[in-house]
C-alpha cells in the first residue's frame, strides 16, 4: 500500500513515523526524566511533520510552538525545580504483574485496532461536514479559522473557562500551605493560626505559566 503512494510522501511518512515512535519509546524507556522530556519533543516534532504531510500546516505550527515550545519547557522546568531528575531504575518493577499485564493489554488493544485497519474493516464517515480541508483559497488556516468561529464558536468560547481553571488551579496548588502537612496518622489537629496571604491573581487569559512562576519566586525566597 505504501508503494501506491509517491516516494516522497512515503519517505516523509516513514521518517515521521520513525521519529514519532523513536521518541515515544524514548519517553517510556529513558531513565532520566529530562531525557524523557527531550524524547517527547522528538515525538511532538514528528507528529508536526506528519501534520504538514497531511496539509494541516497551522496545526503543525501550533504543535511545535505550544507543545514543544511551552509544554515541554514547562515539564523541564518542573523537573529541574523539584529536583526529581534522579535516574529511575527501570529494571525493577515493584508492582507484581504490572508489566506483563500492561504488555498483554497493549498487544491485545493494539491488535484489535491495527487488525481493523489492516483488514480494512472500517468504514469512514461522510465527507465535508464542517467544511473542506483541501483546496481552500486561504489555505487551511482560513478554513480552520472559519470553522472555529462558526461551527465551533461555542467550544472556542468554552476554552476560556478551561484556561481560567488552569490559572486558578495552578495558583491554588502552588500556594504554600500555611500549616504543617500532617501525615495520615496525625491528621487533623488545630488549623494553623496564620492565614496565607492571598496571592495576587491576574485575570490572565492564557498565562499558563503564571502559577509556577509565582511559585518560583516564593521558593527562591525561601
Amino acid at each position: 500500500m505504501l508503494a501506491s503512494a509517491t516516494a516522497v510522501d512515503s519517505a516523509v511518512f516513514v521518517f515521521g513515523a520513525m521519529i514519532i515512535l523513536g521518541g515515544a519509546f524514548g519517553v517510556v524507556l529513558s531513565r532520566n526524566p529530562v531525557h524523557a522530556a527531550l524524547m517527547l519533543v522528538a515525538t511532538l516534532f514528528g507528529v508536526a511533520v506528519l501534520f504538514i504531510e497531511q496539509q494541516a500546516n497551522f496545526l503543525a505550527a501550533v504543535q511545535v510552538i505550544v507543545y514543544a515550545g511551552a509544554i515541554v519547557v514547562l515539564f523541564l522546568f518542573v523537573i529541574m525545580f523539584l529536583g526529581v531528575d534522579r535516574l529511575e531504575n527501570l529494571a525493577e518493577e515493584p508492582l507484581p504483574a504490572q508489566r506483563p499485564l500492561a504488555a498483554a493489554m497493549a498487544v491485545l488493544g493494539l491488535a484489535g485496532l491495527v487488525a481493523l485497519g489492516v483488514e480494512g474493516r472500517w468504514s469512514v464517515g461522510a465527507h465535508q461536514v464542517v467544511g473542506a480541508a483541501r483546496g481552500q483559497s486561504g489555505g487551511d488556516v482560513e478554513a480552520l479559522g472559519r470553522a472555529v468561529f462558526t461551527t465551533y464558536l461555542f467550544p472556542f468560547e468554552a476554552t476560556a473557562a478551561l484556561l481560567v481553571i488552569a490559572v486558578v488551579g495552578a495558583v491554588v496548588l502552588a500556594r504554600r500551605p500555611s500549616g504543617r502537612m500532617p501525615g495520615p496518622s496525625e491528621a487533623g489537629g488545630e488549623p494553623a493560626g496564620a492565614q496565607p496571604s492571598p496571592l495576587p491573581v491576574g485575570e490572565g487569559e492564557d498565562s499558563s505559566s503564571g502559577g509556577p512562576g509565582e511559585l518560583e519566586v516564593e521558593e527562591v525566597a525561601r
Binding site: 483559497s137 473557562a161 491554588v172 491573581v201
Partner: protein, 540 residues
C-alpha cells in the same frame, strides 16, 4: 449549515442564543467575578462573603435554568449556537440539578472553610467553574463540547480534591484523580477521533443522522470509538472497572468537595453519557447494551460488596456512590425515554442525598477533617440528635427505604430496566440494594448505640439482660420538616452538646434542605416525578 458558507470570505458568525448558555455564563462569570472581587478586596476575603457571592451566582443560575425550562415548555427543545449546544428538558434538568448541588455544596464548604481556615474564595470559584463544566456537559450537542465540558469540570475537580494542602491525603487524592482522569480523557479523545472518523462529524445529531441514513459496511471503527467513549464516561461516573480512583479520591478530598464531586461529576458524566449513547448511538443500542449491562452488574455488585468491609465512612460512601452509579446505568441500559427520565430523576434525588450526607460527615469530621472512622459516629445521636437523625434519613434514602426519594429513584430505574426487558439486571440491582442496606444501617446503628455493644451475651437460655437503653431519640419521618421549620433555632439544637460549639448555619441550611427534599418528595412524589418526566432528550 451550508448557508454559513454561502458568501465566501464573509464570516457568518452564528447567532448566539444567550438563554441557552445562560446558566453556564452565570456560573462562569460568577466564578471569575468572585475571583476579581477577592483580588480587589483589600484584605483576605472572608469565607462568608465568598459563600454569599457564590450562592447568589448559583441561585441566579438556577433562575436562569428555570427560565430555560419555561422556554422549553413554551417553544419546545431546540439547538443553539451552530448546533453546539442543545436546550431540551433533559439539559434544563441537569443544569438545575447542578445549580442546586453547587448551591448546597457552597453552604457546606462555607462551614468547612471557616473551620479549617484554608484560605480564600478559590474554592468557591473552582466549584462554580466546575459546575459550569457539568452544565456544559448536560447541554453539549457535540462530542468536542462534551469533551470540553468534561475537562472544565474535571480539571476544577482535580484541584478541588487537592485543595486541602495540610492533608497529605488531599494531595494524593488530587494527583491520583488527575493522573487517571487525564488518562481517561486521552482515551476519550481517541474515542472521539474514531467516531469522527467513522461518521465524519462530531456533532451528535449529525452522528445520529448519519447512522440513520447509512448502513455501515464495517462497524469496527465506530464501535471501537463507542467503546472508548464509554470508557471515558464510565470513568467519570465511577463505573466498574473504571472506578478504582473513586474510593481514594472521595476519601482524600476535602469532605464538602467529596459531596460536591459525587453530585456534579455523576450528573455531568451521566448527562453526557445518556445523551451521546441514547440519542447519537441509539441505533447501535443492541451493540452497546450488553456491554453496559455487564458494566452495570459489576458496578452494582462491587459497589455494594466492597462497601461492606469499609470502616471509613467517606470511603464507604464512595463505594456506595459506585453502587448508585450502577443504578443510574440501569436507566442507560434501558436506552429508552423512560430510562433517561429515570436516570435523570435518580441523579436529581441522589445529589441531594449525597451532598447532605457529606455535609453531615463534614460536621462530624471535626477540625482537621479527619474523624471519619465509623467509631467517630458512635453515640452521635446523643451528642447531636438532629445531626444523627438527618444522616439517618439520608442514608435510609440511599438505601431505598420507602417514602424517601431514594426509593422512588430506585423504583424509576428498576421500572425502566424492566420496561426494557432487563429483568435480571433489575433483580441484581435490587439485591445489591439489599446488600447496600447493610452498611447504611451499620452507620445508623453505630450512631444510635452509645457504648460498645454488649457482645457475646447471647441469650442461650435467658441469660441475657435487657439492653441498656441506647435509644433513638427522635422519629425519622419528621426530620425534614422539623429542621426546616426550626432552621433558625436549629443551630443550637444541632450543636454538639459535648463541645458546646454551635454548628455553622451554612451546614444547617444545606442539611435541612437536603433532608427536606428527600422526605418531602418521598412522601409527595408527584411534583418531582412530573418534573423528571420532562427530562426528554431532544432526539431519542
Amino acid at each position: 449549515m451550508t448557508e454559513l458558507f454561502a458568501a465566501a470570505g464573509h464570516l457568518a458568525i452564528p447567532r448566539i442564543s444567550y438563554l441557552s448558555i445562560m446558566p453556564v455564563l452565570i456560573l462562569l462569570g460568577g466564578g471569575v467575578g468572585l475571583l476579581g472581587i477577592s483580588a480587589l478586596w483589600p484584605r483576605q476575603l472572608p469565607p462568608s462573603a465568598g459563600t454569599a457571592v457564590g450562592v447568589l451566582v448559583a441561585a441566579a443560575a438556577l433562575v436562569a435554568s428555570l427560565v430555560q425550562w419555561v422556554d422549553v415548555s413554551n417553544h419546545g427543545p431546540h439547538v443553539a449556537i451552530a448546533g453546539a449546544v442543545v436546550q431540551d428538558g433533559f439539559s434544563v434538568l441537569i443544569s438545575m440539578l447542578v445549580s442546586i448541588s453547587v448551591l448546597l455544596a457552597l453552604f457546606v464548604s462555607d462551614t468547612w472553610l471557616k473551620r479549617e481556615r484554608v484560605g480564600g474564595p478559590e474554592l468557591q470559584v473552582l466549584m462554580l467553574v466546575s459546575a459550569s463544566g457539568a452544565v456544559i456537559m448536560g447541554e453539549a450537542n457535540d462530542l468536542i463540547v462534551v469533551f470540553l465540558g468534561l475537562e472544565i469540570m474535571s480539571i476544577a475537580l482535580y484541584v478541588l480534591a487537592a485543595f486541602n494542602a495540610r492533608r497529605q491525603e488531599s494531595g494524593e487524592a488530587g494527583l491520583k484523580y488527575f493522573v487517571l482522569g487525564s488518562f481517561s480523557s486521552a482515551v476519550f479523545v481517541y474515542g472521539i477521533a474514531l467516531v469522527y472518523g467513522a461518521t465524519g462529524t462530531s456533532n451528535l445529531p449529525q452522528i445520529a443522522d448519519y447512522l440513520a441514513r447509512n448502513v455501515l459496511l464495517h462497524q469496527g471503527l465506530l464501535l471501537a470509538g463507542v467503546a472508548l467513549l464509554l470508557v471515558g464516561f464510565a470513568f467519570k461516573v465511577a463505573a466498574v472497572p473504571f472506578h478504582l480512583w473513586t474510593p481514594d479520591v472521595y476519601q482524600g478530598a476535602p469532605t464538602p468537595v467529596t459531596g460536591f464531586m459525587a453530585a456534579i461529576a455523576k450528573a455531568g458524566g451521566f448527562a453526557a453519557l445518556l445523551r451521546v449513547f441514547v440519542s447519537s448511538f441509539g441505533l447501535l443500542r443492541s451493540d452497546w447494551q450488553p456491554a453496559v449491562w455487564l458494566v452495570a452488574v459489576l458496578t452494582l455488585v462491587l459497589g455494594s460488596v466492597v462497601a461492606l468491609v469499609q470502616r471509613d465512612v467517606k470511603r464507604m460512601l464512595a463505594y456506595s456512590s459506585i453502587n448508585h452509579a450502577g443504578f443510574v446505568l440501569l436507566g442507560l441500559q434501558a436506552a429508552t425515554a423512560r430510562g433517561v427520565e429515570a436516570a435523570a430523576y435518580y441523579l436529581f434525588t441522589y445529589s441531594f442525598m449525597v451532598v447532605g450526607s457529606f455535609a453531615v460527615i463534614t460536621l462530624v469530621a471535626g477540625p482537621g477533617d479527619a474523624a471519619h472512622d465509623l467509631e467517630n459516629y458512635r453515640g452521635l445521636s446523643r451528642r447531636s440528635p438532629w445531626l444523627a437523625l438527618s444522616l439517618t434519613v439520608l442514608l435510609l434514602s440511599q438505601a431505598g427505604v420507602p417514602f424517601t426519594t431514594g426509593f422512588l429513584a430506585k423504583l424509576e430505574v428498576v421500572s425502566a430496566a424492566v420496561g426494557a426487558g432487563s429483568d435480571a439486571l433489575a433483580v441484581i440491582a435490587m439485591v445489591s440494594a439489599a446488600i447496600a442496606a447493610f452498611f447504611y444501617l451499620r452507620v445508623v446503628f453505630t450512631m444510635y448505640s452509645g457504648a460498645p455493644a454488649t457482645a457475646g451475651a447471647h441469650v442461650d437460655g435467658g441469660g441475657g439482660m435487657p439492653a441498656e437503653l441506647p435509644r433513638p431519640s427522635g422519629a425519622l419521618l419528621l426530620a425534614a420538616d422539623v429542621s426546616v421549620a426550626q432552621a433558625p433555632t436549629a443551630v443550637s439544637v444541632l450543636g454538639e452538646q459535648g463541645t458546646g460549639q454551635p454548628i455553622p448555619s451554612g451546614a444547617v441550611v444545606a442539611i435541612s434542605l437536603c433532608v427536606a427534599v428527600t422526605v418531602l418528595f418521598g412522601v409527595w412524589p408527584a411534583p418531582l416525578t412530573s418534573f423528571a418526566h420532562l427530562a426528554r432528550l431532544i432526539i431519542q
